[in-house]
Amino acid sequence: MTDELDRAVEATLFAAEEPMSIAALAAHLGEAAAGDVREALRRLAEHYGDRGIRLVERADRWHFQTAPDLAHILRREREAVRRLSRAATEVLAIVAYHEPVSRAEIEAIRGVQTSGGTLDVLMEAGWVRVAGRREVPGRPVIYATTPEFLQHFGLESRKDLPGIDELKAAGLLDPVDDAFEALSMLPDRADESDVEAGNEAADPLD
């Protein structure tokens, strides 16, 4: 690049805070003739034609901008993978099994208050949507799952969700059941262990 005017126009537009018209450029560059500036702009625009930045004219003003096909570079999305919290998983499951369902119903089923944030997360994830309002007093918002939900969980339809009996058969209820059982057995076990340990001396009746 040898043309000094080209260099001057290039630097001026680069440093400018706003797009500049040919007249403004010519005035800024002192003795430059408008025609020469126009020529310089044409040459520069050609030079930048296939580069990462472009020299473009908008409403008679010129400025540099990044190439349109690289717009994604300016706004980059970074995805962070996060596991759904236990509360959110429960709410999602309830929506899936009971849809359409209101928040009050979700809370009744879960037995605990559900924060609005939990449903927001599920909607942000694209798995739950607002499915209208229930025509009862208060007209509560009701929620349902989305096609993306079925897709993500590899379900053809909601019918593919296993029923309660199948859950039990599959042992999916076991952890809680076990705990329940263990609790109901507790008094008996305590008695027996006393006896077995040969605690006779401690028993006034023995």
């Binding site: 680069f14 970074r78 236990r86 959110a88 998983t89 999602l92 379900l155």
Partner: protein, 267 residues
């Protein structure tokens, strides 16, 4: 010792660039005008040194001292207010000068040559930094000589959360919600028990058979399973207490937790 001997030649290092704005011919009036612009005695000394127009490495300390003292004396004569450190420096330089002029063998440590050398080293360091500062300020500076892009579009990174959950977690969560909130049924198992009434009947009947002391365990059903046996033991104990209260039986226990015996009241 002559003034020439005090020109400390520190070797053949290249001459620095001392063509600063203060390198004008010595002009006393100009000196006084600059009173405010000196930053302390070292600064004034450096300025005086530069006026000697020789390499700072070969500066005449004696001549420098004379100039400084002359400057201070004239300033005092003109009743200019001088900061204390200018006067301290003047006094020290006067001492240095007298020491430098004394015969060498009468000198104490530190030797005046060493003091002069130290002063010279300090002046050289200040001069070096002053020159460096000037060269630094003269560079092509961003925002003055060169410019960054006037209106950068800016880069943005939007963070998006990709939520992760699988079929198993979903179904298990539902199962647990169900299990947790299902109506809780408390199943009380049908336990073999011996009621107090039947224990009373049984103990009374057996007491009627013999007058001997009998251990309470002998009153229990002989082939009862362990849980019924425990229940029978409890009920029989209460029955024994009841019979004793009614005066129908006597109880005896020889020691705490020892065998409990009873027999029919003989009175």
């Amino acid at each position: 010792m002559t003034a020439e001997a005090l020109v400390l030649d520190l070797g053949d290092q290249p001459a620095g660039d001392w063509n600063g704005p203060a390198a004008a011919p010595i002009d006393d009036d100009a000196l006084y005008l600059e009173l405010d612009s000196w930053e302390g005695p070292l600064d004034l000394l450096l300025d005086l040194a530069r006026r000697q127009k020789v390499d700072l490495k070969a500066i005449s300390i004696l001549s420098l001292v004379d100039q400084y003292i002359a400057y201070i004396e004239r300033a005092e004569a003109l009743r200019l207010e001088l900061a204390a450190d200018y006067l301290v420096m003047a006094a020290w330089l006067a001492y240095l000068k007298s020491a430098l002029l004394l015969p060498r063998d009468e000198q104490e440590d530190p030797s005046p040559e060493d003091l002069a050398l130290r002063l010279q080293l300090r002046l050289a360091r200040l001069a070096a930094m002053r020159e460096a500062a000037a060269r630094l300020m003269g560079r092509d500076r961003l925002g003055r000589d060169v410019f960054a892009r006037g209106a950068p579009e800016g880069l943005r990174t939007d963070r998006k959360t990709l939520w992760q959950c699988d079929w198993y977690a979903l179904v298990q969560a539902y199962g647990q919600v169900n299990a947790r909130t299902a109506p809780v049924v408390h199943m009380v198992r049908d336990r073999p028990v011996m009621t107090l009434d039947s224990a009373l009947d049984r103990v009374s009947a057996m007491l009627g058979v013999t007058l001997d002391w009998m251990e309470i365990r002998q009153f229990l059903p002989p082939h009862a399973e362990p849980r019924l046996r425990r229940s029978a033991l409890a009920s029989s104990f209460v029955a024994a207490l009841e019979l004793a209260r009614l005066g129908k039986a006597e109880l005896a226990q020889d020691e705490p937790f020892g065998p409990l015996r009873l027999r029919r009241a003989t009175a």
